[in-house]
């Protein structure tokens, strides 16, 4: 484990009350000021992983891990008040859904400041000024009007900016963004991603960004983790992973990204089959039924390649590497 790691997950497993395993043996690390992208299909456990890190899982899901530390603190052993203070002061979260994340009946200024006022010994006025300043920093021109507005009076892009400002209120060192651009149109998507990029580079906040959008991760994230069926199948520096993907699933994901220069008449390519929802609690390769490259070596427990900057969960890759 790196000493300056902002996030260090080892062997995270999330189970539902029914006993089903949603996420199994996930290990991730993130250094200070880094930006990590988590990619994968719907149902691959990206959001569950992110929410486990912030202990925001719904009550019927249980997370366990060999080690789960954020900003050097062991999340799993925290008491409830400690956990609240930790959430309120040290990490930020930006949601996918911009419609219901802000309370429709409460003015923006109150929602921006209420959490901050809980944990900072300061005046309401200072909190409001801080919120106003942050709204301007996230690119809202008429911050005074937005402060006095109800969320329903704002557009989706504006609401997401407010959400980001809200996450920044307590000066977090880590922000986890759960598909922050999903519900936005593409112009606003671009603006929001640029905003995250500047938060990362200028405010030096480490960011975990969950996204379906591989191009976005490739452009803005230092590292990438590809998840499949509740497991991390490949991690590494994003340039390395995107230029020479090793895991067959990563390759498949990259091959289905539509390109501008492709023949408009041609059918878009796809990965046949579905992400398995059950039976995730196994040591075998979960991608095998859909894998185009699977060989004799792939039966039985899957082997993992653990390089300095690369992790690949694939027996075939291990075999080829002679490991």
């Amino acid at each position: 484990m790196k000493q300056d790691a902002v996030l260090n997950i080892e062997g995270l497993t999330v189970r539902a009350a029914s006993g089903d395993v949603l996420v199994r043996d996930v290990s991730l690390t993130l250094g200070a000021q880094e930006c990590l992208g988590i990619a994968g299909e719907s149902g691959s456990g990206k959001t569950v992983t992110a929410k486990s890190v912030l202990q925001l899982l719904p009550p019927d899901l249980r997370a366990s891990a060999r080690s789960l530390s954020v900003l050097g603190k062991d999340i799993l052993s925290m008491t409830e008040p400690e956990r609240r203070r930790f959430l309120g002061c040290e990490v930020g979260f930006v949601p996918q859904n911009t419609v219901a994340y802000l309370h429709p009946l409460i003015k923006v200024k109150r929602q921006l400041t209420d959490g901050y006022l809980c944990y900072h010994d300061t005046t309401k006025r200072e909190a409001l000024e801080r919120a106003h300043g942050l709204l301007e920093q996230v690119g809202i021109r008429d911050a005074s009007r937005v402060m006095e507005s109800y969320p329903g009076e704002l557009s989706g892009g504006m609401r997401q900016r407010v959400n980001i400002a809200m996450a920044l209120m307590s000066d977090p060192k880590l922000i986890i963004a759960d598909e922050p651009t999903t519900a936005l149109d593409c112009v606003v998507q671009q603006q929001v991603v640029e905003l995250f990029h500047s938060i990362n580079t200028q405010r030096h906040v480490a960011i975990v960004m969950i996204s379906h959008d591989l191009n976005l991760i490739r452009r803005y994230c230092h590292k990438v983790a590809v998840m499949y069926a509740g497991q991390v199948v490949e991690t590494g520096d994003s340039q390395a992973v995107f230029t020479s993907p090793k895991h067959p699933y990563t390759k498949a994901l990259l091959s289905v990204v539509p390109r501008v220069d492709q023949d408009p008449a041609a059918r878009l390519s796809e990965i046949p089959g579905y992400v398995p929802e059950t039976g995730r609690d196994t040591d075998e390769c979960l991608f095998r039924p859909r894998c185009a490259e699977c060989t004799q070596a792939c039966s039985g427990a899957v082997r993992c390649l653990r390089g300095a900057d690369r992790f690949v969960r694939c027996s075939k890759v291990c075999e080829e590497a002679g490991a």
Binding site: L56, L87, C89, A100, Y101, P104, L105, Y150
Partner: protein
């Protein structure tokens, strides 16, 4: 906001006008001669004819209607045949009874349903939730006349805590008055409780399931602040609307409970008016009840407007 209010007031007036008209026409159509009823079956046809003329019953119906509504607007609601008194005076005599019972029972229902409904939602499937769900079912299922008699038998007759029947006016002491309306209020409250708990519980469950509760958690708000400021705030709207409707209904008097507890309220006045074919009184009562319903729902709407900014700013509701 102001525009909305004016629009709302105008539509309330229109409703009142339409209801007054329909009541009048319907009552006109029921068989039976009012003059004959007043004078009795032994009256000579001459006398009946003379009274018909004096009561204006020989005029065309629209003149009769205009006479009546004109009187109402001037504050003269007509004279009851049965009581020989002004209808407005009669209503004013009965009002305190019906009002105090209605308000007390709504108070009981609102407080109990708020406590039970919120706790049941917070501790879903706990014994408390099961209790709330039972009350929900029973409140709706138990007939009020049976419950009234049961309460009378146990609390008034056996335990002697409350008078069995009758109404003690406020002028004879607050405590005595409260005791005389306590049992009927409880009986009515239980009837309303069923629906109200259901609404409170389900709106609270919906609110707790919303994404803004996640946002409250992310900000590290203590659970109590999150529940009060976030969940309750969005869960109160439906219960306010429903309890407004319930109050309006109770203000119109409750025939069965008033009869069983021998309370001289609007409900019993209405029963007498119907039994005796007292058309003028009946018209007055229906108009009064309608006005109550319109007024209460107007006030309810104003409260909801105060709570929900989406309505205030004239937008579509933002909450899902």
């Amino acid at each position: 906001m102001l525009k909305l209010l004016v629009r709302r007031l105008l539509s309330a007036l229109a409703v009142l006008f339409v209801v007054s008209f329909i009541t009048f026409v319907v009552l006109l159509c029921i068989p039976g001669d009012a003059a004959q009823l007043v004078l009795g079956v032994d009256a000579t046809p001459e006398k009946v004819a003379a009274l018909r003329e004096a009561m204006g019953l020989n005029e065309p119906w629209y003149i009769q209607y205009l006479d009546w509504i004109g009187g109402v607007l001037r504050g003269d609601w007509g004279t009851s045949y049965v009581y020989g008194e002004n209808v407005w005076t009669l209503l004013c005599q009965r009002l305190p009874v019906t009002f105090s019972v209605a308000l007390l029972s709504m108070l009981i229902a609102v407080v109990l349903s708020a406590v039970l409904g919120i706790l049941a939602a917070l501790k879903k499937d706990s014994p408390l939730d099961i209790l709330a769900r039972t009350v929900m079912q029973l409140g709706g299922a138990l007939p009020s006349f049976w419950l009234a008699m049961l309460f009378m038998l146990f609390f008034a007759s056996y335990l002697g805590w409350f008078p069995i029947t009758g109404y003690t006016p406020m002028s004879e002491g607050f405590g005595a008055c409260l005791r005389s309306i306590a049992l009927p209020s409880f009986v009515l409250a239980i009837g309303e409780l069923g629906i109200l708990i259901r609404i409170v519980r389900s709106s609270m469950l919906t609110a707790l399931d919303q994404d803004f509760m996640l946002s409250a958690r992310v900000k590290g708000l203590p659970p109590r602040a999150a529940i009060v400021r976030y969940a309750l705030r969005s869960a109160v709207i439906a219960p306010i609307t429903i309890s407004g409707m319930q109050l309006a209904k109770l203000l119109g008097g409750t025939v069965i409970v008033e009869t069983i507890f021998a309370l001289p309220g609007i409900g019993r006045l209405m029963l007498t008016a119907v039994e005796q074919r007292d058309i003028t009184l009946l018209q007055g009562i229906v108009l009064f009840i309608t006005s109550m319903v319109v007024l209460v729902s107007l006030v309810t709407d104003l409260i909801v407007m105060a709570v929900n900014p989406a309505i205030r700013t004239g937008e579509e509701a933002v909450s899902r």
